[in-house]
Symmetry: C2
Subunit: 518 residues, 2 copies
């Protein structure tokens, strides 16, 4: 089943934001955002048909025999009973075939609208949407070192994401603004995404009430009618692996699904701790969990958008530390993509994962391993695609721009290989002949500007120039780019009336409750 | 056609080295080398059948219409004429179908023997052999900075390669020993590979005479009979792209092919300079060049082992600098693999390519992009798989061990996914159940030691420990590993008689000619 709004986002004419916003926009500075990646290359499929069938059969067995726990959520248990599951205490055992049948009403792709219609994204199919890091309590940069994140840091990351050409999405909790009370943070975070950027964003999931606030703020931004008919948020619903669905996350899911807003249903797995140490065992549990979660979203509202999520990392059995960019995580990322496609669901996985404490070689090897596998595994929504450091404890400014730059390679790779007459270049080969060179030939002159992807951060200078200029490493080059981008930043235009209404909403909400840091 | 020696290398009982060497070996310290990678995962195939057919047809057209130049090599021209080509001056035009027909006698895989039979490698098929960086005139490490390479550096790299578990091959010119006369370097380099390591190695290609010396030294090391019947060297024959075969490289190829020794026939291409700026145009030229080169090796001796080589990088059109780890290079690496498999030839490409001046994040992103694409493109022989820096001008000690460690991820990835009962882990999922954890369960206890690949260089420590220990980045951690490995090094045993003969050979050769630094 496909969302009716699955026409190319680029072709849409926006209803969100209204005429005033569009007029204001024309007078503002804008930063280029590349279209969503559409793959013209095949996916890598590492798992055989036989292995996939084993996993699918075992996942059904897990759901029927072991079941899943819906904790502190009597209404959910009631819904499951009505849907045909066997409920025993908080344990929900789902007869074989039932979860998959319930999942079948979820759309295979959907459009998440941005307030700037040109930046709406299609999630699913051959598309890949890139979103920044999510969740770190710390930030780090070369100057300030590692420290607790603040709202000011949050604003900076939203600005950087807005200005990053290869990033399609503003994300959600790009870092935790720890200087704002826990029960009010979501208001400031949403305000930042709505006003400092015009890219699509995520809603709050830390409490059903905050999910409801997210919806209400979107009703101000997009108009209540628009939000009723369209998906304007994609939010991250983590499963408490193994096989446990807690009342907070499920409460948020219930709000979003009921409002036809998208949820990423995502097991959060450190292999060996929250799942078996084997790839097939982990994939079995992932599939069982995702099927139960997506099925539940469809019980709430058939047809509401849900994404097959997989966050998996391995563990260093010496230290117990989670490890990233490893071959085991790559295999799980790849196999989960195959499973997601067989279910006809959009797929979320991979990201700029690394365990390193610095944006150094370790960080980059681990990150590149994960980004490449994400592209080749058919990921449709890549959260954490830039800025992740130290196992997700830290959002790193320099790594953010380094990763965001690398995302350009995914765009170029996915474009595949053209084979028209110009691409064949036979005239160039004739013109140059044995022993010649191509720099000056007509074909090169006609094509060189678009022929090769080029980093905007890396050093391509001769050694001597590089040395004279201070022999800067990637971190130093990236720090300079962060400073430049933040100094160039200008906000996208927004109808002042809408902005005033959002500000009033946030002020009222904040005034309505005491601060809480719990 | 397949080399008769294509039985698994691990099963062979060695004739090379003799009984004395084997006895000596038992008393020596040995370092573990992982078996050659055998892929249990599918290759990524980015190019469509249609695009491949266009490239193949165009390459035949290039050979017939434009042809290739064999420079300063009248004997080669005579051979081509006899084989059916149209020779006009130094231009060799090859009628459609002829080059491919000549190539068909080259084996699809072959065994390159090491003096330690357990380290012989199969090149071709589903196998991947990893060899270190080749050719840099400079070396670099954190302590000494960037400097001209010496024989002492060369020795250190051979030792590091010998001790690297994931590296199968000792390589060739791991760096240029610039303190040794050009006309005598090859003797010292071969001596180092033969005595400091027991892994397979490459021969000299800088002059046909030096290729002959390489053969003669192998006759001492392996025995003349053994060398007559077996392939004991794989050497790098670069094509002078576009479409030019110079007399030095062809002279070396002639020596090696005549002795049934393997050659990598490899276009050396900076896209936009030595080939068209488009992927399909470059692949067309690569295929034409490789077909001409491999065909020539088969004219010299039908059945001699030849590898389809592809060294391709893109160019930064702003600065003219070659750039590495780019999507365009990835596509060419991938497409050339498809073309090589369609010819039934072993394939060489990819490596630890980067343009960075330091082993920093840039170096690692670029390298990881290339290593991953190499694995997924069906590469059979990966030269430069570790240690490459600054566009190949520098062999870097820290990057060598960082890359060599990352090669472990390729091993694990290629192993694919097991789906037997143990891998399914259903008992573990039952045992743990919703809300439990896997760390202590029976399945984890039985499998954790082999479940996850683990870096031997990266930092996996908690932040506080890492900070107390000096907050070291990857470069610093790698520098410590280099020092440790070199201090632990012990040479593999070698029959003292053979060693003495090699020393005498080298001394005689050196005495027979004046030093030349040209």
């Amino acid at each position: 089943m496909t969302d009716a709004a699955a026409t190319p986002a680029r072709g849409r004419r926006g209803r969100g934001g209204g005429g005033a916003a569009r007029r204001a926009e024309r007078s503002a500075v804008s930063f280029e955002t590349a279209p969503t990646i559409t793959r013209n290359i095949p996916n890598l499929e590492m798992l055989s048909e036989r292995t996939l069938e084993i996993i699918e059969a075992n996942a059904e067995q897990v759901l029927e025999e072991i079941g899943v726990a819906f904790v502190d959520n009597p209404a959910a248990l009631e819904r499951w009973k009505e849907a045909g599951a066997n409920v025993d205490g908080e344990r929900v055992r789902i007869p074989k075939g039932l979860a998959r049948k319930l999942c079948s009403t979820a759309p295979s792709q959907f459009t998440q609208h941005a307030r700037n219609p040109a930046k709406s994204v299609i999630v699913g199919g051959d598309n890949l949407v890139l979103a920044p890091v999510y969740g770190p309590p710390f930030v780090r940069d070369a100057d300030g070192g590692r420290r607790y994140a603040t709202l000011d840091d949050f604003h900076k990351f939203v600005k950087l994401a807005y200005m990053s050409k290869w990033l399609h999405h503003s994300g959600g909790t790009v870092c935790e603004p720890t200087d704002v009370p826990v029960n009010k943070r979501h208001l400031d975070m949403l305000m930042a995404h709505m006003t400092l950027s015009d890219k699509p964003f995520m809603g709050s999931v830390t409490d059903p009430v905050r999910a409801q606030d997210s919806i209400e703020m979107c009703e101000i931004l997009f108009g209540a009618d628009f939000v009723r008919d369209n998906t304007v948020m994609t939010s991250l619903i983590n499963i408490n692996s193994p096989l446990t669905f807690d009342e907070t996350m499920m409460g948020a899911l219930e709000v979003y699904a009921a409002h036809n807003q998208a949820s990423i249903i995502s097991p959060f797995i450190v292999g060996g701790a929250m799942a078996p140490v084997s790839v097939v065992g982990t994939l079995t549990q992932v599939l069982a969990e995702v099927m139960a979660g997506v099925a539940y979203s469809q019980i709430i509202r058939p047809g509401s958008p849900a994404i097959f999520g997989t966050f998996v990392t391995s563990i260093d059995m010496n230290s117990g530390a989670p490890t990233f960019g490893t071959p085991e995580a790559a295999k799980i990322t790849n196999g989960a993509g195959q499973l997601a496609r067989r279910m006809g669901l959009p797929y979320r996985s991979a990201g700029s994962f690394c365990g390193s404490k610095l944006p150094d070689a370790q960080a980059a090897y681990e990150t590149a391993n994960s980004l490449n596998m994400g592209l080749l595994s058919g990921v449709n929504f890549m959260l954490h695609s830039c800025g992740w450091l130290e196992g997700g404890l830290v959002a790193d400014f320099e790594k953010f721009v380094l990763d965001a730059d690398q995302l350009g390679t995914l765009h170029s790779m996915a474009a595949g290989v053209e084979d028209d007459e110009n691409a064949q270049a036979m005239d160039a080969i004739r013109e140059v002949g044995p022993g010649g060179h191509y720099l000056g030939c007509a074909h090169t002159q006609a094509n060189f500007k678009t022929a090769f992807w080029r980093s905007e951060v890396f050093d391509y200078k001769p050694f001597e120039t590089w040395e004279e200029e201070g022999a800067r490493d990637s971190q130093a080059l990236a720090a300079a780019r962060v400073a430049k981008l933040l100094s160039d930043y200008q906000p996208p235009a927004l109808d002042p009336e809408i902005k005033a209404k959002l500000e009033a909403y946030v002020a009222d909400k904040k005034a309505s409750m005491p601060d809480s840091f719990m």
